[in-house]
Amino acid sequence: MHRLLALWTKEWLALARDVHGLAVLFVMPAAFIAIMSLALSDVFKDESARQTDFAVLAADDSTLAERLARRLEGDGFRAAPAPVDEAAARAGARQGKPGLVLLVPREFERGLREPPDRTNPSQALTLLADPALPPAQLAVFQHRVLGMALGLRVSAAARIPGFAFEPGAFDLKRAATLSIEVVGNSRAGRPSSVQQNVPAWLIFGMFFVVMPISSLFIVERREGTIARLASQQVPFSLLLLGKVVPYFVINLGQVVLMLLAGRTLVPWLGGEMLALPARWDLLAAVAASTSLAAISWGLLVAVCARTMEQATVIGGVGNILAAAIGGIMVPRFVMADTMQAWVDLSPMAWALDGFHAVLLRQGDAADVAAPCLKLLLLAAVLLATALWSHRRRRMRNPAP
């Protein structure tokens, strides 16, 4: 334990003296959060050209669901297969697959023939929405549903002999009772720019530990300290463990500070305030998994890169590419469909899924399990590759 303490202390001291490295880790994500939250706020408000999947689940029969889906389809909304039941619909919406589910009550068609009545259960439509869905898009779909209901109401009325028009009978707002439920978010908070950007740039910043990890490691290798430690019978695995804990603490510090930035800095600059999660334990689990994946990536780059320039290119450019693909720089829903197929290749996207499950969807353990497992598996593979690569190199060169 004393040996590990010595390694941790050394790592802290070296980090504390790398002012630029620390600035990258803390100032950069905070700056991105502030800038991008403000810059993209309109994009989040005025959602336009993209395909959003929706489904219709009718309590009466599936043909009604299909008919309604056909009416709602188009202008950026694409019909998805109807879920088997309401539970499946909720589970799907929680994960954004599909992003919207319209629940149609029993005898809905009969209810349309009756005057608008908020207490009439057959007129009560429910729209389940993915919390990550931009609010503008939700509003568009909401009006689309009301428009469809109004159309059906007019058609039904026209078929009733001697139907007398009452004032307000065909008011769009009263066409049906439409309640919107953002699934998984007990506070019914809709996603905002800041809720997209805080986790996104936080992840980006966390992965940037690759820079200080690799630069210090390259200094250690260049100065011969790693070879010296090997001669002092310090196992390489212990050396790596000595790096994991300090950077893990740094990453957790980033999480705290970036959440604070979302709560204070962004509102102070005129943006919206970040909504905090209900389950801090799940947030910790996602943050820890992301941190371990980021640190392991840093260790692999450190072991493989021969020069500082290589580390900068592999680590820095690798991070930027992963961020670009993974929905960090350009949110996933803004991307074209073809590009969205690539998103899940990026570990940053896995981390973002995890953070969104906690921060946006107020999800439970099952919602964060998959992203966390993927990140932990990646961490294990990267770490094992780093150890293997080090052993291989050490066989070839006395100064590892």
Binding site: R3, L13, V219, R228, Q232
Partner: protein, 309 residues
């Protein structure tokens, strides 16, 4: 600690056909300083790396008093100290932080760590710069810190790999004095260098290594004894042409510099006659050596190359 025996040690890097160490056999007694002399690329650092456990896959046997070195190190992990050729410490940390780190990572802590840090800092005379960043030290002070780190655990076996490279003469003299003072107390000290003057100045035993092979090994005085009738002369003035031509024929005269010569004379009498002849020719001898050679001459005899080539 006993004697370090290296027997038929060979090593080649994976993928290479050439052996970096080719059947190296050495006997290194404790209580003294054993010099390993050889030109750059001779295999000195590789040998040190194998001994220090940095390189694996060597064939042959390494034992301390009959016990395999690996076993000794498993039993006493910090019995070996390495002072590498590079200044292997953290430039961004202070000297004190470096000493504490390298002590801590080898299991020292508490009072013992403090005592050892004070002790090695005093030994290397770096007490005055303990709070300075290691990267800001002069070359000589860096070397002293490098040495101090290697002594933290009071190792019984100390491997010094060219510890004076790149320092000024004053620091070199200090380092050599310090290293000389480490001999004794049952400690095995292996000192590699390509500076023959250093090895000649501080080592009790010596081995010359070239292209991975030991060319000669033994006590320094024995190794430097010369039975081949080598006479080395430094004269006040160059030899006249006639005398030089005569000696070239009779004594295989070689010019080693301005008014510096080596001759092969058949006997001590012939040596005396040659000295007298030089005196008569007006070239009074300033320095004379007979029956003893220096390491440079020995290396040249063994390889027909200069140590500095």
């Amino acid at each position: 600690m006993g004697m370090l025996n290296v027997e038929a040690l060979s090593f080649r890097y994976p993928g290479s056909t050439e052996a970096v160490l080719d059947g190296v056999t050495l006997v290194i007694p404790d209580g003294g300083i054993f010099g390993l002399l050889g030109p750059n690329g001779a295999g000195k650092t590789t040998l040190i790396s194998v001994l220090a456990g940095q390189l694996h896959g060597a064939t042959g046997r390494i034992a301390v008093s009959g016990e395999p070195l690996d076993s000794v190190r498993r039993r006493r992990p910090h019995s070996l100290g390495l002072v590498p050729q590079e200044c292997a410490f953290y430039p961004m940390l202070t000297c004190l932080e470096n000493l504490r780190f390298f002590g801590g990572v080898q299991g020292l802590h508490g009072v013992r760590l403090r005592q050892r840090v004070e002790s090695v800092a005093g030994f290397a005379r770096i007490e005055g710069v303990l709070e300075r960043r290691a990267g800001q030290l002069s070359g000589g002070l860096k070397r002293r810190l490098n040495l101090a780190i290697g002594l933290l655990t009071e190792p019984d076996m100390l491997l010094l790999d060219e510890p004076t490279v790149g320092v000024d003469p004053q620091s070199r003299a200090f380092l050599l004095d310090s290293i000389r003072s480490l001999r004794g107390k049952g400690r095995i000290i292996l000192y590699t260098s390509h500076y023959m003057e250093e090895v000649q100045a501080i080592c009790d035993g010596v081995a010359i290594i070239d292209r991975g092979q030991v060319l000669v090994s033994g006590q320094l005085a024995e190794v430097l004894l010369d039975g081949s009738g080598l006479l080395t002369l430094r004269l006040r003035a160059p030899l006249p042409d006639a005398l030089a031509a005569d000696w070239r024929t009779r004594y295989a005269l070689r010019e080693e510099g301005v008014a510096r010569y080596t001759l092969r004379v058949p006997s001590a009498t012939a040596a005396a006659q040659a000295i007298e002849a030089a005196h008569v020719a007006g070239c009074e001898p300033v320095a004379i050596s007979y029956g003893q050679r220096d390491l440079e001459q020995l290396f040249m005899q063994l390889t027909n190359r200069s140590l500095r080539d």
